[in-house]
């Protein structure tokens, strides 16, 4: 079944306490290569039929009005799930 993926991240200028906590854990585990972590969201919209351009446009509109709050978040990607992703 086709899937549209929507990815949302907290705005870059906002402090991300969740990411900060994860970064702290990495540091304590001795994983020192990472200077920071930010935590976002991924939505998978399952589609009954074919993923058309019109449907992708609608998904973007849904992303910007419901799935994300553009005051505090950015929609970074709206795309159809690729096969490689599906297998992973």
């Amino acid at each position: 079944m086709p899937v549209i993926v929507v990815e949302v991240m907290p705005k870059a200028e906002l402090l991300d306490p969740q990411g900060k906590a994860v970064a702290g854990a990495l540091n304590r585990l001795g994983r020192s290569a990472y200077s920071g972590v930010r935590v976002g969201k991924r939505f998978e919209l399952h589609v009954d039929g074919e993923v058309t351009d019109a449907l992708l446009a609608e998904a973007r509109e849904i992303a910007e009005t419901l799935l994300a709050n553009l005051v505090i978040e950015d929609v970074v990607s709206v795309h159809e799930l690729r096969d490689a992703e599906a297998l992973a």
Partner: protein, 232 residues
């Protein structure tokens, strides 16, 4: 008698306390259900605290799109007093009745304390019973109470006197400009993170120098709405 509706959403926690506050302030509390399209002719609306819809998606996001909110937004735009407390404040920003948004506390933890505030603006439907600059103490309890808005919005809120409550002594959640509550342009819609409905009856409020749990500073928030409606 003035009738004040308190909306119950799935996951609301403080709707009972809000109805009690309305009653103690001298009005008739009316239970409203989020799934209806009927405000039952109430004179004012309170969106209570809690974790509506489990705070799934974002705090207040799904509640802000529930059926009754269509009527709440329309009433607010007509000038009906609307108060959003904590989760209710989050709903008001998600419904675009108030600008900005609320994010996870900067220190990452849930915080519960008796919070000192300054009443910055007494020209709103929910603060006219206070003195400008008055300091009050009411409980605060949240995990996502950090107020954020872009620089332009903050400047406009400050310039137009729409910062209604400001944190004193401690900023419990890392809010921009220590903002605890704001109003819309007209002053009929107010949202705040602290809980006035938990400081309305001696014996059940915050401690004061006079006696344990005797703080009732929150009561005047609800009395203000009655005053505003009588004056209208």
């Amino acid at each position: 008698m003035t009738r004040v509706g308190v909306v119950t959403f799935p996951g609301s926690l403080d709707d009972g306390d809000a109805r009690r506050a309305v009653r103690l302030a001298g009005a008739e509390p009316v239970r409203l259900w989020h799934g209806d399209h009927d405000l039952q002719g109430v004179d004012a609306v309170v969106l209570p605290g809690g974790f509506s819809y489990g705070d799934y998606l974002r705090c207040g996001a799904i509640a802000a799109r529930s059926p009754l909110m269509t009527e709440v937004v329309a009433a607010a735009e007509q000038g009906t007093p609307v108060l959003g407390i904590c989760n209710g404040f989050q709903m008001l920003t998600e419904a675009h009745l108030l600008p900005g948004g609320l994010v996870r506390n900067d220190h990452g933890a849930f915080v519960c304390r008796d919070q000192r505030l300054r009443v910055e603006q007494t020209g709103t439907a929910w603060t006219n019973a206070f003195e400008t600059g008055e300091e009050i103490v009411i409980p605060l309890k949240n995990g996502e109470g950090g107020y954020v808005a872009d620089a332009e919005t903050l400047a406009r809120l400050e310039g137009e006197g729409r910062v209604v409550f400001r944190y004193l002594e401690v900023d419990p959640n890392g809010s921009a400009n220590h903002i605890a509550g704001i109003a819309n342009e007209r002053g009929n819609v107010v949202g705040l993170m602290p809980h006035p409905e938990h400081a309305v009856e001696a014996g059940f409020g915050p401690d004061t120098p006079a006696a344990m749990r005797s703080g009732i500073d929150g009561l005047r928030v609800f009395r203000s709405a009655l005053e505003a409606l009588l004056a209208a």
